[in-house]
Symmetry: C2
Subunit: 484 residues, 2 copies
Amino acid sequence: MLEIEINRNSTIPLHQQIFEGISDRIRSGGIADGERLPSIRVLAKKLGVSLMTVVKVYERLEKSGFIIRIQGKGSFVNNDMKASMKTGYEEEKYGWQLAISDYVPRNRFDHYFTPHETSYQLSVAAISPGLLPNRYIKSEIYKTLEEHPLILSKYGPIQGDEELRYTMSKYLHKQNIHISPDDILVTSGAQQGIDLIARTFIGPGDVVVVEMPTYSAAIDTFRNRGATIIGVPVDENGMQMDILQNVIEKYKPKLVYTIPNFHNPTGHVLSDSRRRKLLLFAEEYQFLIVEDDPWSEIFFEKAPPHPIKSYDSHGHVIYIKGLSKVVAPGCRIGILIANGILLARLLVSKANVDLGSPMLTQKVILPLLDSERIEKHMEKLRFALKLRRDKVTDILSANLPEGIRWTVPKGGINIWLTFPVTCHTDDLLIECRKRHILFLPGSSCFSEEIEKNHLRISFSFLPEELLEEGVVKFCEIVTGFMNK
Amino acid sequence: MLEIEINRNSTIPLHQQIFEGISDRIRSGGIADGERLPSIRVLAKKLGVSLMTVVKVYERLEKSGFIIRIQGKGSFVNNDMKASMKTGYEEEKYGWQLAISDYVPRNRFDHYFTPHETSYQLSVAAISPGLLPNRYIKSEIYKTLEEHPLILSKYGPIQGDEELRYTMSKYLHKQNIHISPDDILVTSGAQQGIDLIARTFIGPGDVVVVEMPTYSAAIDTFRNRGATIIGVPVDENGMQMDILQNVIEKYKPKLVYTIPNFHNPTGHVLSDSRRRKLLLFAEEYQFLIVEDDPWSEIFFEKAPPHPIKSYDSHGHVIYIKGLSKVVAPGCRIGILIANGILLARLLVSKANVDLGSPMLTQKVILPLLDSERIEKHMEKLRFALKLRRDKVTDILSANLPEGIRWTVPKGGINIWLTFPVTCHTDDLLIECRKRHILFLPGSSCFSEEIEKNHLRISFSFLPEELLEEGVVKFCEIVTGFMNK
């Protein structure tokens, strides 16, 4: 059963909202291949919209290849990925569950159900355990537990451990962000930060602007709140401000989500002047900026410009930072910074979500963040990851056929490859999987008007030999694929 | 700005949905005392409903004391708690943020901002650190980290650590629940389990049935998804099935949330025959049951009946269990069990929420759950908590004035006290706070038709001497309060 949330007061037309709701669900396997959609009449009645609106939606769905309409029989889903969340359940026992509607219109279905045995996970955007200070952290855990055994047995404050918030406020001074520990909320990873913002401030029909392409899980999270996502293309200086201005004037967004430093997936850096411009837009048009900043410390030439948050004097920017990511990913700890009356509302959501992040994981990453070692660790990471980047781009240069372009990122962990428009990386992925190679298909990084001729590989996760082997094999497969 | 989500296809009338949206926000401080509501005409237009509908809502708001209407001037919020999320922000800097609407209509505002310095926290429903196996867990952490140092540096599966899921499937055999590790999703505490279910399956206008009273954070979580909550009263055998049947027939709920064992806050146990009846209703009327089971092991006489999940053959029951709660609350780990196509959808939500719970906290509680020690630990808890219950009920019997009734719970950690209807425990709380005593006011455990003459104290959290002192002082204050 379809559950589509619409907003009659949105700047986005109703037919567009409904189209997004249905197409996302088909793409995600929430409606299975071959399933029949409700009739135009039934859906119009259910949603309280005119017949013409639904006619428009079904026409567009057909034109985009999402459904096939058979005269006198109805409209049937045409999902060429054949992905379905309903695969493999026992129909006799659980068939009644099909009538239980849900509110997760979009998901990278494929991603969640990929077996983890693949050898060459070029898809994983995380730091290789070999580059992380495991031994130091382990010895610090022992010390921490001797000194504060109660962290195992006590709930912490919903807002997060006070010591960690204090340490982070100091740490961020170095990035020119001057805030009080009271402006910080500790989250279970940066992903939870995005989700808390989405569930607190975004609802059906709200407009969220993102870079195009962008972090795919951010698209999922905002879409699952019923938002319409508008993508603004990026160039080597980040999000293009003239296009953004048009989008803002036309759609009145509630929120702009940006990854200014070594942007995921393209690796570009938002220039200083564009950062200031973006903030000026936010002040003029009164929207929120979500500044997601996982990799600012991982630069290979010079440090990126100061965060947008560092100029923010009226609380337009909510700044998100994953912490455990570069230190101890098994801890899943991040922070967000919000000022004024935004934080109180985010705090309510945090309480609803999980009553606060675990004390144990917060205390585990604290000693490193609080010591001078963190600087040395970052230096080490910069050095090691730059070598990896060079290695991988060398292999790509030597082995990839002509017609493929890629970025040489000046920081971060990702390389974004662009193929000729006729090459679909979803198809390439099928070939790669057979040889145990995974990458992130570019299609998952677009909300609409999906470009299928990109892909992302991360050079940070695999052990070095596997990384080299994997990229060489990847190039072989690509060469074969392009010659087909 | 008011953001109220309504559903035209709900069994709940629109005026009722809108009334709930506004009254919850006022009660939570989301709309401040003295603030002016939009005019009837403006709100009707915004929501796309008739003027009469909004007239009805405002009349009821006035009648219930939530607003005061002044001829020619408008309708003004009358929040006698004076709680406001907008207190203390710098208006000049952040005033523009007032225009940013949010989607958190209900919260126990008061709860989140209570300073933690109170000495006698009779409000905290958690186990005293002194009763927890800290030393054992600490030594096991050391072993675990020596053997598997990578748990610090690797993301785990979104569904949760496989070993923990396997161990839990075995553990639950003892409770007659026979499921596969694949049916389990590891959550960051039981609270996240409730939230995942709410965000996946519940939307505006859906009807959720709960026990009346119930766990206040569950009300918040479902309300924040726009659900209408219908409460069914409990007696000493739990939720009353004849009333439930009427509610089901009238409102067609999508979900029934129940705490069958040592119910929070009343302490009652849902009888075996009612458990079976509830499941029959779910099968007949095709709704979901959420069975929240934190305390089944903590019984003082005999073990409670088997969980509803143990009879569930068609996947109607989603079973939630907090694990770290009775073992190492600083870890915030729980599980949920769901069958069929429900789990795949919950898994998508889990990915959106946080990409999976931390590996560290999952591995930390594993050794205890996997050893025979867990049985001994539970026995110890039963013994110690029974002594505490007896102590506290003795003090109450000896010291409380006449006219106050309470349960003597046969398990769990809470005592529910009922005062004469004219006694408001919200007022009593103000008195108690002055003497550094906190309890949970009963008003937060009701969704509508709030009964103000109850309160909950937990006897599990404070160290023993503080507990006794605190309860004695509490009785003194109550006596003074009743004699006023």
